[in-house]
Point group: C2
Chain length 387, copies 2
């Protein structure tokens, strides 16, 4: 285990009707809140009214910006920052899925940043100031509700980039599994794949002697596999929705990465796809990740063999480490397929045309990954394996 | 899973030489620190000098109180509170094991409490104010370094009681496994038993649908079993010491209890033993816990069967749930025995003499436990099973 520091100050408020605590929690921080939403679904499920009621009842003055889309845009962040400054906002509330939370966090960071918000993503170093953020989550996927990360797209430059700001951890995140009941099957699946991918990025590592972090990652994956089946069978299964929601939050809370070198190459490789083709992040990850696994196997099979045995219950009897590793990867693809996730770029009508450019852009800030360093040629090969 | 809120703002600074960050971290909070130590061992291992050097170098003015003992005393807390007020202390630093940390936290709470500190333990409700606390940990056991709990003994009243104060979570805890290298075998074992007991108190619960919390608890127990053997074979095995230290911290960080009804009867039953006989907490728990397990089996065997299979790898083939449960309990006793922990009250020369009084006192604030409600007669039976 490497030296590390872990600090996650977000308060999780979890369970049925937890949105009722929103007003009180917000009012403890300030009087003027900017509400950030996608628009449609939070109104359709009746959450929007509950949010506003709770805030108004607690004496919070509510301002609003809506229209967050998947692969959220820097243009909306700019609007939000402007509004926060004009209205002297005390706290930014993201009510929605990961895109909404990331938009809220980036607005909160941008308010205290002296420059255009996109510079936050392209500058050297990372920001360390933000006004407070609160979250009401409606989708189990990105884990953004309990960390300092945000991913934003710039349509003009066709870039999708991530920032980390230790000051942008939400002060509180309200997680009611009922708010995920109406998430369509497709997006539920993308969420599950995204959560699995976050776990993989931290699990597959050469850092030795991390038994807790490894077992906790395996625990989350096993839970995701079991509860994923249950939630697809019954989208209103509270327990299954609750376990998936908590898995998503814990997966990127920093716990799995304690003292480990992480990877994140697959995310960088996927971001290029979403930036150009605007495909769902979870869909892109489902296509790419098993291919990444096969590609990096040259760097060691031990962790992949452990994964096969512990997560999928593969019987190790009479098998080499390599055989176990390959079986684990095969089972990963089968699992994603069983969920109905896409498995090839052609599922999104993506062909050879931009692979070279994407590989170039993905590695323009240097080689990717921790398990195996990936250069432009490596990334191109992984894209080609995914056609 | 029940509704819950989770909030753990402690920053963990983990690894070799992490004490070098103490001065800087302390100075971010204040200029005047009260150092709380046991006295002997922190000087012997050279940690004391490193602590003072780091603080002085960062410009922190250091005041001091030492002499914390296992089963730490309210009398020392009173002295600490007095000193904090006189010297206008900004932060209380506990440098040592759980007893020292609990003393530091109770002092920090007592400073802002209008009354004798022992009233904190006997009053209705819980305190919610404290001056900041920092920790440099030297023993993997109580988990106090990442929560708001403290356990203090009052020798006059022969009571050992616990408080929770959400404001007393340490601002930071510095965890260097090297500082546990010189912990004698006996205390290493007590620490391992204490950590296991904390996990049990949260694991054995009737709350349904908590797959993550259960698997994370099982993960910690498996790690403890494996790494415990390694650390007894080589007390300077960094990786094993590191995994045990992190297990201890995570075990009581609140993660395992998310959305679950907890138990804690065994701790209450043990506290009476320590209060009267001043025996080591871990020793008392090793004696009592397997007997508690056998006693509460009437309330359900399912979780105990799962424990046997998942933690000890018991083969479930052809066995009833009850048989599996009993095998898991037997394996718990065998594990504690293999570590060299005591297994009977007679190991501490404790006989029938005070059992009745202890059972009376243990239940004087009401029935104990969550898995099975324990009244005076139940507690007495568990003491008798332990003779």
């Amino acid at each position: 285990m490497n030296n590390f520091s872990f600090h996650n100050p977000t308060e999780i408020i979890f369970g049925r009707d937890s949105v009722k605590k929103l007003g009180e929690k917000t009012r403890q921080i300030g009087e003027r809140a900017l509400l950030v939403t996608g628009g449609g679904s939070v109104k359709k499920i009746g959450l929007y009214d509950k949010v506003v009621d709770s805030l108004v009842e607690a004496g919070v003055e509510v301002f609003e910006i809506s229209g967050v889309k998947p692969n959220p845009r820097i243009s909306l962040v700019r609007e939000g920052v402007k509004l926060c400054r004009e209205k002297e906002i005390d706290i930014v509330l993201g009510v929605g899925g990961g895109s909404t939370v990331d938009t809220a966090k980036t607005i909160a960071t941008g308010v205290l940043f002296d420059g255009d918000p996109w510079e936050l993503f392209t500058m050297e170093g990372e920001p360390d100031k933000a006004i407070p953020v609160g979250v009401v989550l409606t989708l189990a996927a990105t884990g953004s509700e309990m960390n300092g990360n945000a991913v934003i797209s710039n349509l003009e430059t066709e870039e999708k980039l991530a920032i980390h700001n230790p000051a942008s951890y939400p002060s509180f995140s309200i997680l009611d599994p009922v708010n995920t009941f109406s998430v369509p099957k497709k997006h539920t699946v993308y969420g599950i794949v995204d959560i699995a991918a976050h776990i993989f990025e931290q699990y597959f590592s050469h850092t030795p002697a991390t038994p807790i972090q490894d077992r906790w990652a395996e625990s989350l994956l096993k839970t995701l596999i079991e509860e994923g089946d249950r939630v697809l069978a019954d989208p209103e299964d509270y327990d299954a929705r609750a376990s998936i929601m908590l898995t998503g939050t814990m997966a990127l809370s920093g716990l799995l990465a304690m003292g480990k070198v992480e990877d994140w190459a697959s995310h960088d490789i996927e971001h290029e796809l979403s930036a150009i083709y605007d495909i769902p992040h979870g869909g892109g990850l489902a296509i790419l990740f098993p291919n990444w696994m096969n590609y990096v196997l040259t760097e060691g099979t031990e962790k992949f063999a452990q994964y096969a045995v512990r997560v999928f219950g593969v019987d190790p009897e009479g098998k080499t480490e390599k055989e176990l590793a390959l079986e684990g990867i095969k089972k990963t693809r089968e699992w994603f397929n069983s969920l109905g996730a896409p498995s090839r770029l052609s599922d999104y009508d993506i062909g050879e045309e931009n692979l070279e450019i994407m590989a170039e852009k993905a590695t323009s800030r240097g080689a990717l990954g921790g398990y195996k360093k990936l250069y432009k040629e490596d990334v191109l090969k992984i894209y080609r394996m995914s056609l």
